[in-house]
């Protein structure tokens, strides 16, 4: 797979992407952000400049060693104005390096909310249980 300079091709599996966006109302900002990011990343790849490494042990107890993430929406703005995140697993295929979709969701929930963050969803997909 051709890799344009500064971007990494992305691959999305419909099953986890559908499970993650189904947590939100159809037409909500979260769904719009997720679907726009998917279209953009599938067409153009993920800009390396937007990528961050996930933490081996995050403040919330998640352990996402080896995974990468971007804040969304993908705009030039403070982190607080990019409340969503998308987590990827870097994989090696016969066509080269690919970012394999792992999870989408909010980065932080208001206090009192028990809904999982994008990090908690990714942790469950990585370790098979809750953080």
């Amino acid at each position: 797979m051709a890799t344009s300079r500064g971007r990494v091709p992305a691959r999305f599996d419909d099953e986890p992407f559908g499970l993650d966006t189904d947590r939100y109302r159809s037409g909500s900002r979260a769904c719009d952000v997720a679907e726009l990011a998917r279209r953009r990343f599938e067409a153009e790849g993920v800009p390396v400049q937007a990528l961050m490494a996930c933490d081996e042990e995050g403040r919330d107890g998640t352990r996402l060693e080896g995974l990468l993430k971007v804040y969304l929406p993908l705009i030039e703005a403070p982190a607080a104005e990019r409340p969503f995140g998308m987590v990827f697993d870097p994989i090696d295929t016969e066509r080269g390096s690919v970012l394999n979709y792992v999870a989408f969701g909010v980065r932080h929930h208001p206090k009192g909310s028990h809904a999982p963050t994008v990090y908690a969803i990714a942790h469950r997909r990585l370790h098979g249980r809750s953080p």
Binding site: D13, P16, L19, A53, S97, R124, H127, G128
Partner: protein
């Protein structure tokens, strides 16, 4: 002599692998709970019910026909990536 301890041998499943086996997926039909849920036994004996999270990272890599890259190898190819400590 059996001292009641837990013998761990090379090749035995890890705690993470055991946890994966213990998590079950059930389907509920109650109107407000309809759908698939993961049931996870917690250390204190309670059961945690969470919306089904679907395929694992390993399964997704398999579906993509790829092998997971180490962070070191990814950074060798694309450069150092920052961390933010939040997750």
């Amino acid at each position: 002599m059996d001292r009641g301890g837990l013998a761990v041998r090379r090749g035995d499943p890890t705690i993470e692998e055991v946890a994966k086996r213990m998590t079950k997926t059930v389907t509920l039909t109650e109107p407000e709970l309809a759908g698939q849920w993961d049931v996870e036994p917690l250390d204190d004996g309670r059961l945690l019910l969470s919306r089904h999270t679907g395929p694992s990272v390993d399964e997704l890599a398999r579906r993509a026909g790829g092998e997971r890259l180490s962070p070191e190898e990814f950074e060798r190819r694309f450069g150092h990536l920052p961390r933010d400590g939040e997750g």
